[in-house]
């Protein structure tokens, strides 16, 4: 009966890969211990499969066929011009850039980080120096999540960013991940972001690739974000790739008292994506806004799974996720709002919508409310439909050709989610990505 007994090829590959690289991964004795524990955890758990409720629609055991060799301390030759090409519409964004190539920090491609109010160090050196130990465990994800265990076991680099109390950064911090080279690899990164009380910052994570890169790649990324009291954080992740790329992502967020956290994730051109967000309210009267856009075609499989945990009273959460599905792509949305008994006066709203462009597309949605407090106003909604024929007719009756009308309607559909990003240049760049995807049909 126990499915986890038989190890799949990918599971075996991952465990063997860990054995072979464990000694070369950065970190002191305590970090190594944590890695081994995580690897043991993974060995027990195995890859998540559809019998696990949270993974009902994304059977990693089934779809993850093999484990690619981990990339550690990659040294692929890249120029700043290459990074600009890879960044596409985000290249023109005026930002402090922290660049990683195949999962390794590249100071020469990054902006010098001698900024007032911001401290930065690459995780690879922070783990060795022990300076980020406190940062690493300040947030919490689920204890029995295999993707997180793999991240802890394999994390080779990342950005450790600390924003000082009261600091307001004029320009966004852009964390760039470039996939480059002809060799297929897996990269595991972990970011630790600590935003001080009253600080204000925009952080953008971009997962992009160079033209001519190998079609295969596996990314496992995790971000831990602690939002201090009264801080205001905009956090964007934009994963734009092509080929047979697997993208496993975890965000773990804690929001402090009277703070506001605005998260957004855009996923397009990824063959297999699982975006998990775990957000917890730490202090009262805080606000959380999570939204996202997912664009899938061909056999793409894009899964967004989030848990918003209202632990304290008086908080507000909003979610809006929109997706466009073409070909036989599959979109999944699982959103859970938990309101604990102490979290009176909670206001939570959630919406997930998908537009299907092809008869073979599939959308599975599971918006969930778990409420233990009575003085609350919570709601969720979910819709799935084709392009509205009447709207199409309206556009055409105004002289817009059908093809153009379709693009207009799909673009405006997805734009509603993107526009929740308040930073205009960032939102514009995201829209450009979406437009590029829609027109590449």
């Amino acid at each position: 009966m126990n499915l986890a007994v038989m190890k799949t090829k990918a599971e075996q590959g991952l465990l063997e890969a860990f054995q072979s690289v464990a000694d070369t991964l950065p970190g002191g004795a305590d970090v190594q211990k944590a890695r081994r524990e995580a690897a043991d955890r993974f060995e027990n758990l195995g890859l998540p499969h559809r019998r696990i409720e949270e993974w009902k629609y994304t059977d990693l055991r089934q779809v993850l066929k093999e484990a690619l060799p981990p990339s550690i301390g990659d040294s692929t030759e890249l120029t700043i011009a290459d990074v600009i090409v890879a960044l596409g519409s985000l290249a023109s964004l005026d930002a402090h850039k922290i660049v990683f190539v195949n999962g390794a920090y590249r100071p020469k491609l990054s902006t010098p980080m001698d900024l007032e109010g911001l401290e930065f160090s690459p995780l690879s050196s922070a783990l060795v120096n022990g300076e980020s130990k406190t940062g690493l465990t300040r947030t919490s994800g689920p204890k029995d999540d295999a993707t997180l265990a793999l991240n802890t076991a394999f994390m080779s680099d990342g950005a450790v960013v600390r924003i000082h109390d009261g600091a307001e950064l004029a320009k966004p911090v852009l964390i760039v991940h470039v996939r480059a080279g002809k060799e297929a690899f897996s990269a595991t990164v972990r970011h630790v972001i600590d935003v001080g009380a009253g600080a204000k910052v925009t952080i953008v994570e971009a997962f992009v690739s160079l033209p001519g890169v190998t079609d295969e790649g596996q990314i496992n990324t995790a971000s831990e974000i602690v939002v201090g009291d009264k801080a205001y954080v905009t956090h964007v992740k934009c994963a734009v790739d092509k080929g047979a790329v697997t993208h496993l992502s975890n965000w773990m967020v804690r929001v402090g008292k009277e703070a506001e956290y605005r998260g957004f994730q855009q996923t397009q051109g990824i063959a297999l994506a699982r975006n998990q967000i775990f957000a917890t309210f730490d202090g009262e009267d805080a606000k959380l806004n999570l939204s996202g856009a997912f664009l899938g075609r061909g056999g793409d499989h894009i899964d967004t799974t989030l848990v918003v945990d209202h632990v304290v009273p008086g908080c507000e959460s909003r979610e809006l996720f929109k997706g466009i599905l073409d070909g036989h792509a599959r979109g999944i949305f699982q959103g859970k709002i938990v309101v604990q008994q102490a979290a009176q006066k909670t206001d939570g709203k959630q919406m997930a919508q998908a537009m299907m462009l092809s008869p073979d597309a599939e959308f599975d949605s599971k918006p969930e409310l778990e409420i233990f407090a009575d003085d609350v106003a919570c709601g969720h909604g979910s819709t799935v439909a084709e392009i509205d024929e009447e709207m199409l007719f309206y556009c055409r009756s105004r002289g817009i050709p059908e093809e153009k009308a379709r693009v207009l309607l799909t673009e405006s559909f997805i734009a509603e989610a993107i526009e929740t990003v308040e930073d205009e240049p960032v939102a514009e760049a995201l829209k450009m990505f979406a437009r590029g995807w829609l027109q590449a049909d």
Binding site: Q341, I371, E386
Partner: protein, 488 residues
């Protein structure tokens, strides 16, 4: 005024004073305690069943033994010892020919107490339109079915399933288990192995059933499980409305109720199935009560067929129930209207499944959950459209109301669209009774409890309107009683 009446009733009835909590002293015949092949042979023999039925049961039992109790629902209860139950209990007099005169007068008195008018003449004296044919099931056995002759004139078969097995074996053989297979789930398999009685309804082609059909279930014996099986077949172009009511006396131990209901609607047929479930919910400390683990499923097998479920769930310690519709025929329609009220220590995990298989199928789900006390109330539902189900439509609305800060209301919908022309909308809200509304009512002179009852009745109105007239008034009162003690 209805509300005032309700409030008075509420005052009279404490949680411990469950209205239907009386035991009837009737001699009964029981199968030996426990469950093995012999129990099944015993039941089958008692009912003079044909060999194929016994084989069917034994096969189900074999499958059941290989199955595990489901644990995914948001309910918690001590493990059930399936060997510590009586699987068959029948009032002694029930064996033999059935006419009202031969029914134990004690039993008739019981049904009178319950307010079930069994005596035909009494009903005949009433208004023509409000006539209801009743099949009463006492513990495991169908005791009496009224109005048989009149129904027979219309060609309608309405009898207990054991009688149907004797008189219409071909029909039973053809349809039994065709909607809920033997090994569908743990409790359905158990039911298939040991089901004792239940109702059988067959509406012939083109017939509109001349009256409402109704079944009344009551668990009386201690430590008995009730496993009834209902099978309703609506032939082409027919219509039937079926009501079901349930009660049990107070008991310390938890009693098990695992029923299976199968509905089959052929071309252009319509089945309307209404349930008012008011089993004993346990006392104020969560002791006792009924475990209500029910599998209900309707199959819209024919074109343009329609199945509509309406349920009012106020009783049971634990409810685990998902009346579903398989929308197989093109243009078929499924509906689910539900009021689920939990108070005290009750746990409800209920909802529906709408499985769109045919073209142009549509479904509608309206669920109203009310949680009070320290109860947990979960809506769990699935709406799915398969690849070939073009133009399927669904509208779902799940509203939850919380009364008190120690209860929980949860919504777990699954929406799966495998077809781009599917058009699914889902909406859910959870809130408490708004202070504004409460203030408004109280400012008009209503007490807090009256105001709450009024607001709750308004909250569930969409569903109440779906109930047959006979049940509507009763349900409104039931809501008041169920919410007793939830305010202040």
């Amino acid at each position: 005024m209805a509300t005032v009446e309700t409030i008075e009733q509420v005052k009279q009835i404490d949680v411990d004073q469950y209205k239907y909590g009386f035991e009837t002293q009737i001699e009964s015949i029981k199968a030996p305690k426990g469950l093995d092949e012999n129990t099944i042979r015993y039941i089958s023999e008692k009912k003079n069943e044909p060999q194929w039925m016994l084989d069917w049961r034994l096969d189900a039992f074999e499958r059941w033994q290989a199955m595990k109790e489901p644990t995914w629902a948001r309910v918690s209860y001590p493990k059930i010892d399936f060997q510590d139950l009586y699987y068959y209990s029948a009032p002694k007099n029930a064996e033999g020919p059935r006419s009202l005169e031969e029914v134990d007068p004690e039993l008739l008195a019981t049904y009178e107490k319950l307010g079930i008018p069994l005596k035909e003449q009494e009903i005949l004296a009433g208004v023509q339109n409000s006539r209801v044919a009743v099949d009463a099931v006492f513990d495991s056995v169908s005791v009496v079915t009224t109005f048989k002759e009149e129904l027979a004139k219309a060609g309608v078969i309405f009898c207990s399933i054991s009688e149907a097995l004797r008189n219409h074996p071909d029909l039973v053989k053809k349809y039994l288990g065709s909607v809920v297979p033997k090994s569908d789930n743990f409790y359905a398999a158990l039911n298939s192995a040991v089901f004792s009685d239940g109702s059988f309804v067959y509406i012939p082609e083109g017939v509109r059933c001349p009256m409402e059909l109704s079944t009344y279930f009551r668990i009386n014996e201690k430590q008995t499980g009730q496993f009834e099986r209902t099978l309703i077949i609506a032939e082409k172009g027919s219509y039937v409305s079926y009501l079901e009511g349930c009660t049990a006396p107070m008991r310390d131990e938890n009693q098990l109720h695992a029923a299976v209901v199968e509905l089959i609607a052929l071309d252009d047929a319509e089945i309307k199935y209404s349930t008012v479930q008011n089993w004993y919910p346990g006392d104020a400390n969560g002791q006792g009560g009924i475990y209500n683990f029910v599998t209900k499923r309707g199959d819209c097998r024919g074109k343009n067929s329609k199945i509509s479920w309406t349920q009012v769930e106020t009783g049971s310690a634990i409810t685990w129930k998902y009346p579903s519709c398989i929308l197989r025929g093109d243009n078929s329609r499924g509906e689910f209207y539900s009021i689920a009220i939990s108070n005290g220590h009750q746990q409800i995990d209920s909802g529906t499944k709408m499985i769109h298989l045919g073209k142009n199928t549509s479904s509608r789900i309206i669920s109203k959950g009310i949680a009070a006390g320290v109860s947990q109330n979960t809506y769990r539902g699935l709406v799915s459209a398969h690849r070939k189900a073009t133009n399927s439509r669904n509208y779902t609305q799940c509203d939850s109301l919380l009364i008190g800060d120690r209860c929980g209301a949860h919504t777990v919908p699954y929406i799966e669209a495998k077809n781009s022309s599917a058009h699914f909308e889902h909406e859910a809200t959870t809130s408490k009774i708004s202070d504004d509304k409460l203030f408004y009512c109280m400012q008009r002179g209503l007490s807090e409890e009256e105001a709450v009852t009024l607001i709750v009745n308004g909250f569930v109105r969409d569903v109440l309107q779906q109930l047959p007239m006979e049940f509507m008034a009763e349900t409104q009162k039931l809501i008041g009683i169920s919410l007793e003690g939830s305010v202040g």
